[in-house]
C-alpha cells in the first residue's frame, strides 16, 4: 500500500492535489482513499491531505502517521509544529519539498539522512508559497516518484477533477504537472510501498480517564474577553509586510483601519505591525500612499523585521 501525505496552506490547492492524485491512482486500477483535513482556519493555515492506494481493498482508516511519501508545498511549514510535517518521518519515507534550497541543506537542517527531493521554486516567482498551480506541480512530481502513475492517468485525473474550471486552467495545471513529472525523471520509482497494517499489530493507546467535577450545569462558556489573541495567526503568513519608517508619513488611519485583522497598532502616530497576528494579506502594502510598506517572502523576513525595528527605535 502507498501512503501519501500532502502538506500545504489553505489556498494552495492541497485538497485538490490529493483528489487529483487519488483519481490518477484510480485510473491506474488502484483502490484509493483520499481525504483532506483542515480546521476552522482559512487561507494560510496549515492543511493536510491524505491518499492511500493499493491493489487490494484498503482497510486502514484515518490520518496517515507512517507515510511513504511526504509532499510539502511550502517549505515555511517545516518550522511550524502544528503543521506536523515531520510526523512519522522514517528512513523509508521520501520527502518531496518545494523549496529554493538544496536537498543537502534540508538534510542538515533536519538532521536526517532520509531521501529528500527538492521541487525547485521557479526563481521568477517572488513568493514561493504563491507559486501558480503548485498543487499540480506537486502531483506531477509525486506521480513520477511513485512510478506507478503514468502521464495519461495524471492528465485524465486533472481533467476530471477540474472539469468546471474551464479549459485554460485545466491546461495550465496539466502543463505544470507534466513539467514536474518530466523534471523528476531521475528519481522515478523511488517511493516504495509497504504492507498494509495488520489488525494483529494494533496497540491500544493508553487511554486517559478524565475525572469529572461535580457540577449542576456544564456549558462551553468563555468567561474572559479577547482570548483569541493567544492564537498566533502570524504563522499563516507567507509574505511579510515591512514598514520602512524613513518613508512612513505616519498617516496611521490608512493602514491601521484598513488592516482586516487588526494587526497594525498605533503607537502615538506610528503604525507598528503585530507580527504575531499579521496573516500576510498585504492590504496595507496596497494602501500605503508613499509605498513605505513592502512585501518580503516570509523566509527572508526576520532580518528585514529587525532592520525596520531598528529604524523605529531611532
Amino acid at each position: 500500500m502507498y501512503r501519501i501525505r500532502f502538506h500545504g496552506r489553505g489556498g494552495q490547492g492541497m485538497k485538490t492535489a490529493g483528489r487529483i492524485l487519488g483519481t490518477a491512482f484510480f485510473n491506474e486500477g488502484y483502490e484509493v482513499q483520499d481525504a483532506p483535513r483542515y480546521g476552522a482556519e482559512r487561507r494560510g493555515a496549515p492543511i493536510f491531505s491524505y491518499v492511500r492506494a493499493d491493489k487490494k481493498p484498503i482497510d486502514e482508516r484515518g490520518i496517515i502517521t507512517n507515510p511513504d511519501l511526504i509532499i510539502v508545498a511550502d517549505d515555511s511549514l517545516v518550522n511550524i509544529p502544528a503543521a506536523g510535517v515531520m510526523q512519522g518521518l522514517n528512513e523509508h519515507a521520501v520527502l518531496l519539498i518545494n523549496s529554493r534550497e538544496t536537498a543537502e541543506t534540508w538534510q542538515n537542517r533536519l538532521g536526517t539522512k532520509i531521501n529528500i527531493i527538492v521541487l525547485p521554486v521557479n526563481s521568477s516567482v517572488p513568493n514561493p508559497a504563491e507559486m501558480p498551480f503548485i498543487g499540480a506541480a506537486c502531483v506531477g512530481a509525486a506521480a513520477r516518484l511513485l512510478g506507478v502513475v503514468g502521464q495519461s492517468a495524471l492528465v485524465d485525473a486533472i481533467h476530471e477533477e477540474l472539469q468546471d474550471q474551464g479549459p485554460d486552467i485545466i491546461k495550465a495545471n496539466c502543463d505544470r504537472a507534466l513539467e514536474a513529472f518530466e523534471y523528476m525523471a531521475l528519481y522515478e520509482n523511488c517511493v516504495q510501498q509497504r504492507q498494509a497494517a495488520s489488525a494483529l499489530d494494533y496497540q491500544q493507546p493508553e487511554w486517559i480517564r478524565p475525572v469529572f467535577e461535580k457540577a449542576r450545569i456544564a456549558a462551553p462558556t468563555i468567561h474572559a474577553g479577547l482570548t483569541s489573541v493567544q492564537v498566533k495567526t502570524g504563522l499563516w503568513r507567507t509574505l511579510c509586510p515591512i514598514i520602512e519608517y524613513d518613508r512612513c508619513n505616519r498617516c496611521w488611519w490608512i493602514c491601521s483601519s484598513a488592516c482586516p485583522h487588526n494587526a497594525i497598532n498605533v503607537d502615538g502616530s506610528t503604525p507598528v505591525i503585530d507580527y504575531d497576528h499579521c496573516v500576510g494579506c498585504m492590504v496595507c502594502v496596497a494602501q500605503c500612499p508613499p509605498h513605505a510598506i513592502s512585501a518580503i517572502p516570509e523566509a527572508e523576513a526576520d532580518s528585514e523585521i529587525k532592520k525596520s525595528m531598528q529604524q523605529l527605535a531611532h
Binding site: D164, I222, L226, T227, S228, W253, S257, M282, V283, A286
Partner: protein
C-alpha cells in the same frame, strides 16, 4: 452631517477593540468592516450570530470580543436578539443591573441568513419594534460552506452551485428596500473600503433606538477569487462603478451618501474577480456585461 464625530479620516479610532488571532481568511472584507463597526459600537454590546464565516470568530475557548456572544441557528438570530433584549430589560426593570450595565443587542449574520433563511424572523422582529442593530456582512454567497449562491449573489457570478458559462441566473435581492419597506428606525449600506462613511453611519445607528440595519458589502478573496491585498481596491470599485450604492434610510427618506461623480464602468469592477472571469474568457460575453451595466444605469437613473 455636522454633528458627527468623524469629520476626516484622522478622526477614526486609532485603538481597535476586536481581538487579533481570529481564523478569518487573509484579506477578508467582512472582518475589516466588523472591526471598524465594533470600534464604534463599543464594548457594551452582545453579539447574536447566525451560522456563517463569522461564527468562527468565537470558537471555544477563543473569542476576539470583549463582551458576550450568542450563537443561533441560521434563521433565528433576530429571535435570539429578542431573547437577549428581553432578558436585559427584565434585569433592568428588577434593578438587578443598573443602566450603566445595559448592553446593545447586535445581530451579526451573513447574507445567506439576512437575505434568505432569516428574513422572516427579521420581519417579525421589526413588527415587534425590537430595539437592536442588525449587521449583515454580505459576501454574496454561502462563504463558510464553499461559496454556494445565495439570494445576494449578483447576476452572472460564478459560485460553486452556479458554475456554468452564464454564472448565477438569478438577481441580487434588494434587501435594503425590503428592510426599508418595514419602516424601521434606520437602514444603511456601508463598506469597509469607505471607513469614514461607515463610521458616520454606525455612529448614527448607535444613537438611535428601535430596529436598525446595516448591510456591508464584503469583498471575499476566497469566494470571489482575487488576491487578498485587493480587498480595498475592489470595495472602492464597487462604489465607484455604482454596483454598491452607499445610502441610508431614515425618517422615511432615502439619502445617497456617496454618489460617484463619474461612474466607472461595471466592467472595471467585474474584471477584478475570478467569479466573473467567464464574462471575458474564452470570449467576451458582451450581452451579459451590457445587461449588468444596464441594470446599474437604470438604478442610478432613478436616484435624484
Amino acid at each position: 452631517m455636522n454633528d458627527t464625530h468623524f469629520k476626516r479620516m484622522k478622526d477614526l479610532p486609532s485603538t481597535h477593540l476586536l481581538g487579533t488571532g481570529t481564523p478569518m481568511c487573509a484579506g477578508c472584507g467582512g472582518l475589516q468592516a466588523i472591526n471598524d463597526i465594533y470600534d464604534i459600537l463599543g464594548e457594551k454590546t452582545v453579539f447574536i450570530n447566525a451560522a456563517g464565516c463569522m461564527t468562527l470568530l468565537s470558537v471555544y475557548p477563543f473569542t476576539p470580543f470583549r463582551g458576550s456572544w450568542l450563537y443561533t441557528a441560521m434563521a433565528s438570530a433576530p429571535a435570539g436578539a429578542q431573547g437577549v433584549r428581553d432578558a436585559l430589560d427584565i434585569l433592568l426593570e428588577k434593578k438587578k443591573i443598573g443602566q450603566e450595565e445595559n448592553l446593545t443587542a447586535v445581530v451579526l449574520t451573513g447574507d445567506g441568513s439576512a437575505y434568505g433563511m432569516g428574513l422572516s424572523a427579521t420581519s417579525a422582529a421589526i413588527d415587534r419594534n425590537l430595539d437592536f442593530i442588525y449587521i449583515c456582512y454580505d459576501n454574496e454567497g454561502y462563504g463558510n460552506t464553499g461559496q454556494q449562491y445565495s439570494s445576494a449573489t449578483p447576476h452572472g457570478a460564478r459560485t460553486s452551485t452556479s458554475s456554468g458559462s452564464m454564472g448565477y441566473p438569478g438577481f441580487k435581492k434588494d434587501l435594503f428596500s425590503i428592510w426599508a419597506a418595514h419602516k424601521p428606525t434606520y437602514v444603511a449600506t456601508v463598506i469597509g473600503a469607505e471607513p469614514l462613511d461607515l463610521a458616520r453611519k454606525i455612529e448614527k445607528a448607535a444613537q438611535l433606538k428601535g430596529p436598525r440595519f446595516i448591510i456591508t458589502l464584503s469583498p471575499c478573496p476566497t469566494g470571489w477569487g482575487f488576491d487578498p491585498q485587493e480587498t480595498m481596491q475592489i470595495g472602492k470599485l464597487a462604489v465607484k462603478s455604482g454596483v454598491w450604492p452607499l445610502k441610508e434610510y431614515i425618517d422615511g427618506k432615502i439619502i445617497h451618501t456617496k454618489v460617484p461623480k463619474i461612474r466607472m464602468s461595471v466592467e472595471d469592477y467585474l474584471a477584478t474577480q475570478f467569479r466573473f472571469a467567464h464574462l471575458f474568457k474564452p470570449e467576451r460575453n458582451t450581452r451579459l456585461i451590457d445587461e449588468i451595466q444596464g441594470r446599474v444605469d437604470e438604478y442610478w437613473d432613478h436616484v435624484s
